[in-house]
């Protein structure tokens, strides 16, 4: 176990009494509770932690927050791990196994760094330009490229972690718990309003934890801790640490991802997704430090100046032994001071500006740190930082400074993401040289350094202002006294003159001294931006997509503004003219598991089972889903294959009797004076003429004339009807009916009730099926043979202990003599059992959906979803004669459109393979000639197909262009989607191929 060489003996917000051991690439290291992965790695002197995306250059920890472009690690080993974890954000836990990414075979020696040598030819657009030709080679290129590109590897298994989702509400959501957020939170907390305060870091306080700030007689860290405890003790405040507000959506909905890993109990989830609807939102999202662009600015040892302060002050880690600070603004002077005071030798501070305030120079003077004014620098090349070369403008002298830490600061970019996602505007502040928030679109406001404020006291004041604003909006009364006194930080007293400058260093963009990275994560250099501009990618959106600047897991948090400023300069236009790319959620990557939450596997959707389910299971049913319903596909007997089972079941219905569970059908009842009128308006058939005790079957249409569903209407009494619809369309039809009755025709006196759950049903079909049912009818004078085809009767059936009321409709979907028997759901299971007992001797066979399908295809009956697929009119189905000429109905107007009556429409026909050995499959394309290829060659498709035991060959229904005029023609079926390219010759035949006159059905 190694010593933490770079850890200081005192200070920091780490618990030295709670050491954690962890491993990095197998090496055992030590850290403390309170560490991030990054601070622990730095404490152990682990400078290089990753290889870069494209050139595989060694990279170190660059930042101290979620903006980290370089230090993406794999956390966890074995089957389940998390790739691309930002080392600067993830909290250290005992026993964590960390692995670096993006190299082969090892972090120290990466073969793929040869890419770096090839960089002269691997310029922007290299892949797009190179691997395009010849086109058929793309699969070869792709296999290689996929292997060497990409960021991290996805775990092989889902792991055991649980992810949860929470819906929540609050009066005020405050995003960001830095100075502004805390000032707002404590002020508003005293009003009693419900408040949520969230921060993506592991601890409330933001930069107060990372700076040596003073608030009255407390340090910034003490003040933040005191406020944290105060807020946590209040019942109306919910504090969420390690929680990122990653998306701001419509109507003040903010999505948060909370990571519980380090603190959780065993029964807690790994992450929690919060959907928070807030009455008001305060965005105190802060700002992110920008890099400076110079040669070799990506070496391990180079980091943002603020990050160096953060590791020092919050984690008691010196990021190096000999430092140089390079800046174009005042804030980095604090890095020089803090590092010096912590015992790091500071070789120099290099400032690109000509004029520097005395406040800043005083900081250096006190510590004897040399200052280079109006100067730039470049880093020496190598695998890590060893020295820099400083050049003062207008002088040829170069000063070489040895150092192992270079702290850079190119200014601070307001974190506009959430404000922009909410629809808020931004404007360019020329003095600050950054975009700042403009007007809000939703009920939100911004506070603190996101507005471009950088003095601690200004940020605190602004938090208070935001609190007062929000209180006013919500009608709360608030104390306006400051909850702190005279706050200050070193070098924070004067804003200083900011010099807008992104790229520095001599030699221009084409300097041979080394690569000048704009985007570290995507390895986009200044040269790439120049080239993209030269090739006319002059829009920021094009620049992003062509060079990949601003893509990846960090979405350009550190690089975007530098890139677009560079583009602005190349275009010779002001920055606002060039604009920004769109800020889209998520702010930081969100795991897919979190978005899925508990909605996985069997929790994805509820499963509906019919009341006869246990009966099916007992008989060896194989189930399949239809919508949410589990339905028996077939009942497999011992030693039987699925195909044999389906054949046996279908033959049983044709020859003797079969029993099927049809409880899943959608069932409705309507009552009222205007039922007949309603049905006439809904169905294409005339239904007002339907007599009591009779049923009628037919389609209903949508407004656009297409078939919505095909179902049965039974008139139970004068003004009482029973309607059944397709299983899969029940909800849709219910909504259709409700809409028509409630919105379109509220004047109709019709009461609609959904009774799908209230009635269970079976279809009893086959030449001997009546003999099975008859003995169960209590009143023996009630003879079923008197019931005509499409007739209805109610009856009482002999149950085991009591009579079962039943509705019997003589209707057939199989083409055989058949009855549908509906009983109250409580008696459904019993009905199934007593029918099977009764039918035992006559060979009553339960049959599933597959056999039912074969039977109806033989008979030419259409199924909604298969034949009526939403683009099909009654005419296409051959139902012209059903369509009433004497009344209006939904879809009536649309059916008159010429296009629905022209030639060339798909029509339903039957198909018969010329060779009985050929199998037809649903979804196959149909072509006129065996050699036809391409999309235009299709003249239709097979909509339903099955194997008919009656004919001992495939039977199919198909939608064929002008099909009914092509009866007898031979066409070809190609099942290309299943890889069966051989055309199968089929003859177009009539839809019905069994019992053409319906004598068996009406027997």
């Amino acid at each position: 176990m190694s010593v933490q060489r770079y850890r200081m003996d005192e200070g920091g917000l780490i618990d030295r009494d709670k050491p954690f051991s962890f491993s990095f690439n197998g090496k055992i290291l030590l850290g403390y509770e309170g560490d991030t992965l990054a601070s622990a790695l730095l404490a152990n002197g682990q400078r290089t932690v990753a290889r870069s995306f494209k050139y595989h250059r060694p990279r170190g920890i660059y930042s101290s927050g979620s903006e980290e472009p370089n230090a993406l690690l794999q956390v966890g080993l074995g089957e389940s791990w998390e790739p691309n974890a930002r080392a600067s954000q993830v909290l250290l836990e005992e026993g964590m196994a960390l692995t670096s990414q993006n190299h082969w075979p090892s972090l120290r020696f990466d073969m793929l760094s040869v890419n770096s040598l090839l960089s002269p030819i691997m310029s922007t657009g290299f892949y797009n330009k190179t691997f395009k030709w010849p086109r058929r080679f793309w699969p070869v290129y792709e296999a290689v490229l996929r292997n060497v590109s990409g960021l991290g590897r996805v775990a092989k298994s889902a792991g055991s972690d649980r992810y949860e989702q929470v819906q929540s509400h609050c009066d005020i959501l405050i995003v960001g718990a830095g100075p502004a957020g805390l000032a707002a939170a404590i002020t508003l907390a005293r009003t009693g309003a419900s408040i949520m305060l969230v921060d993506e870091a592991g601890r409330i306080g933001g930069w107060l934890l990372r700076e040596r700030a003073t608030l009255g007689d407390e340090s910034g860290q003490q003040w933040a801790a005191r406020l944290r405890n105060d807020l946590a003790s209040r019942g109306n405040v919910r504090l969420l640490e390690q929680t990122t507000a990653f998306g701001y959506y419509d109507h003040n909905l903010v999505a948060l991802s909370e990571r519980l890993c380090s603190k959780r109990q065993t029964d807690q989830p790994a992450e929690r997704l919060w959907r928070v609807r807030a009455r008001q939102v305060i965005l105190a999202t802060g700002s992110i430090e920008r890099p400076l662009v110079f040669a070799n600015n990506d070496l391990p040892g180079i980091m943002l100046a603020g990050a160096a302060r953060a590791y020092l002050n919050q984690f008691a880690v010196r990021s190096g032994e000999r430092a140089v600070v390079y800046t174009n603004n005042d804030s980095a002077y604090r890095s020089a001071a803090d590092l010096y005071d912590a015992g790091v030798r500071v070789a120099a501070l290099v400032d690109t500006r000509k004029t520097i305030t005395t406040a800043c120079t005083e900081i250096l003077k006190k510590r004897n740190i040399p200052l280079f004014e109006n100067a730039t620098l470049t880093a020496s090349s190598g695998s890590r930082l060893r020295s820099v070369e400083v050049v003062c403008q207008g002088s040829a002298d170069r000063t070489k400074l040895d150092c192992d830490l270079l702290c850079v600061s190119g200014g601070w970019t307001p974190t506009l993401h959430l404000h922009a996602q909410s629809g808020g505007t931004s404007r360019f502040d020329a003095d600050l040289d950054v975009f700042v928030p403009g007007t809000a679109k939703q009920r939100s406001l911004v506070a603190g350094s996101v507005r471009g404020l950088h003095r601690l006291s200004d940020c605190l004041d602004d938090g208070l202002r935001a609190a007062i604003d929000v209180a006013d909006r919500l009608g709360l009364s608030v104390e306006t006294a400051k909850p702190w006194s005279d706050a200050s930080m070193d070098g924070d007293d004067s804003p200083g003159e900011y010099q807008p400058q992104t790229r520095t260093g001599s030699g221009g963009f084409r300097s041979n001294k080394g690569k000048q990275f704009v985007d570290l994560q995507n390895d986009v250099t200044a040269k790439d931006v120049v080239q993209a501009h030269r090739e006319n990618y002059v829009s920021v959106e094009h620049l992003k997509r062509y060079t990949t600047l601003g893509m990846g897991t960090d979405q350009g948090k550190t690089s975007n503004l530098n890139g677009l400023k560079m583009l602005a300069r190349l275009r010779d236009e002001p920055v606002p003219q060039v604009g920004t790319t769109t800020f889209r959620p998520p702010y930081t990557p969100v795991t897919l598991a979190l978005l899925a939450g508990r909605s996985c596997d069997r929790y994805l959707a509820p499963t509906r089972k019919t009341v006869m389910h246990a009966g099916h299971e007992a008989m060896g049913a194989k189930f399949d889903f239809n919508g949410l319903w589990l339905r028996p596909q077939c009942y497999v007997r011992a030693g039987e294959s699925v195909d044999t089972a389906i054949r046996r079941e279908a033959l049983a219905v044709r020859e003797r009797a079969g029993l099927a569970d049809i409880s899943t059908l959608g069932k409705f009842e309507i009552q009222g004076r205007d039922c007949a009128e309603f049905l006439d308006r809904v169905y294409v058939k005339n239904l007002s003429g339907l007599a009591v005790g009779r049923a009628r079957q037919g389609p209903m249409l949508r407004d656009d004339g297409m078939v919505l569903d095909d179902g049965t209407v039974t008139r139970l009494e004068e003004s009482h009807y029973f309607i059944t619809v397709s299983t899969g369309h029940t909800e849709h039809v219910l909504q259709h009916f409700e809409f028509l009755l409630d919105v379109a025709w509220p004047d109709l006196d019709v009461n609609l009730l959904s009774v799908t759950e209230q009635w269970a049903g079976v279809a009893l079909a086959g030449p001997e099926s009546r003999e099975v049912l008859q003995p169960l009818v209590c009143d023996s004078s009630h003879s079923l043979s008197d019931l005509p085809y499409m007739g209805y009767t109610n009856a009482e059936l002999r149950g085991r202990d009591s009579v079962i009321p039943a509705r019997i409709i003589r209707i057939s979907y199989s083409g055989e003599l058949a009855h549908e028997v509906y009983v109250p759901s409580r008696a459904g299971a019993e009905l199934w059992e007593i029918l099977l007992e009764q039918g035992g001797q006559s060979g009553l066979t339960p049959y599933g959906m597959d056999a039912m399908d074969v039977l109806r295809i033989e008979k030419g009956f259409i199924a909604v979803g298969a034949e009526a697929d939403g683009r099909i009119t009654p005419g296409d189905l051959g139902f012209e004669r059903m369509v009433s000429k004497t009344k209006r109905f939904v879809g009536w107007h649309a059916l008159k459109r010429p296009a629905l009556n022209e030639q060339g429409r798909l029509q339903v026909v039957g198909l018969r393979p010329l060779s009985d050995r050929d199998r037809l499959r649903e979804g196959s394309e149909l072509i006129a000639n065996p050699g036809d290829r391409g999309h235009d060659a299709s003249i239709g498709h097979v909509s339903s197909a099955g194997y008919s035991p009656t004919f001992d060959r495939s039977v199919a229904l198909a939608l064929v262009r002008d099909g009914r005029h092509r009866l007898g023609e031979t066409i070809y079926s190609v099942d290309a989607a299943r890889g069966k390219e051989r055309p199968v010759a089929v003859e177009i035949v009539a839809t019905c191929s069994y019992d053409l006159n319906g004598e068996r059905m009406r027997a």
Binding site: Y249, Q735, W745
Partner: protein
């Protein structure tokens, strides 16, 4: 995710509702509407930026029908009412005038 205030149930998340159609697509008079008017109503609508009258179904709530006045660009909702009350307000659109 948007939020609609159902007159019966109060403010609820969009996931409880289903947008069904533009109010202008509902016929004014089933018996006497001409086919020309009907086809325009069904198929031809302006898609201008601004507030639109929409019909929403509180399908996973009270199953009430709501008439919603909503801005199709900003998603601002300025009115939600039950459909039955006082009949349906149809936006005057060029197609149906």
């Amino acid at each position: 995710m948007q939020q609609l205030t159902c007159p019966w149930c109060g403010p609820r998340a969009q996931t409880e509702f289903e947008y069904l159609r533009a109010a202008s697509t509902v016929e004014a008079d089933f018996e006497s509407e001409s086919t020309e008017v009907a086809l325009k109503r069904i198929f031809l609508r302006d898609d201008d930026i601004g507030f639109h009258h929409e019909i929403w179904h509180h399908v996973l709530g009270c199953r009430g029908w709501l008439q919603v006045e909503r801005h199709n660009l900003t998603h601002e909702i300025c009115r939600v009412e039950a459909c039955r009350r006082g009949g349906l307000e149809r936006q005057e659109e060029t197609g149906t005038s």
